[in-house]
Subunit: 181 residues, 2 copies
């Protein structure tokens, strides 16, 4: 039901993303595709990825922000997996009608993403490439979960974010389930 | 003087980007780093890339748009090359003061990048991640060259774009040269 595409370039160094991932895993029917574990050499099994997507009704993209965007392997995954003849073109719309939820973490605080902050722009300015990719594929864009200042997150804060993630994704799954029946 | 980082996932299929690249190559002191030729296995030589950047005063990023962004290998290059301790952090500012010029091509027409178009948003909405990356590194953001509808470009149109590229990059190089003397 849920295909969770996870991309952390350094899985071992990721206390926060790991905790979030564990929270999502508590939901039933979550299939995690941990890209940097599966494809450390970037040799993506396109067919396996497309099959995993085809099985899902919800596609979650979870990753830390690298250079205002997704890590390189996830971008490569988009380029290789969501291709003409699968995601779009020649009548193909393999992802149409599915729901896409974006879950991402940043190092800087929310203030860092403002005109006065270190990143000079609101975080919303960096959302369009991801959101429009989902929309172009005909997916519904769910409310994303964007967590700022992840490195300075205390354990209780992290537990709250994890609970929010589980709740938000669980609610989406329940909606999708109701749609189906 | 000019480090031209070129990223086309299918160099053989790129009539337009190749013509543009040839135009840029006519300028003196251009060093082309063709990432998909250099690193088909994604195993980037970080030191070689950092040295090429250090030698340059102008950094050009040239690529076709894939999913409203750069191809995966170029994103991976950003993640691996522009790291803490080189591009930023601990007093490192290896790229500060250099000029960054973005040269990119799209399949859709300019109208495709509008509220009524197939991509639903103006192309300007997809610029911030690239521009802010340059600015965060302390680079000057030069006027980018964005060419829409590249597949339907006739040979004469392509020749005009190539000339514009050479002219725009040449003018930037002349400015930088004057700054130095």
């Amino acid at each position: 039901m849920i295909c969770l595409v996870y991309a952390h370039p350094f899985p071992d160094r990721s206390r926060a993303n790991h905790a979030l991932l564990d929270a999502a895993r508590e939901l039933p029917t979550v299939e995690v595709r941990s890209l940097y574990d599966l494809y450390p050499d970037f040799a993506i099994d396109v067919e396996a990825e497309q099959e995993a997507l085809a099985r899902a009704r919800i596609v979650v993209l979870q990753h830390p922000i690298y250079w205002y965007s997704m890590p390189g392997l996830l971008k490569h995954w988009l380029d290789r997996v969501l291709v003409h003849g699968f995601a779009y073109g020649d009548g193909s719309r393999a992802l149409a009608g599915k729901h896409c939820m974006w879950v991402t973490t940043t190092g800087a605080s929310e203030h860092g993403y403002s005109r006065e902050g270190v990143h000079q722009r609101p975080f919303a300015d960096f959302v369009p490439p991801v959101e429009q990719m989902a929309r172009f594929c005909g997916m519904h864009w769910a409310t994303p979960l964007i967590i700022h200042g992840i490195q300075r997150c205390t354990d209780p804060m992290l537990a709250r974010y994890a609970a929010r993630y589980r709740e938000q994704l669980g609610a989406l799954a329940a909606t999708v389930e109701r749609e189906r029946t």
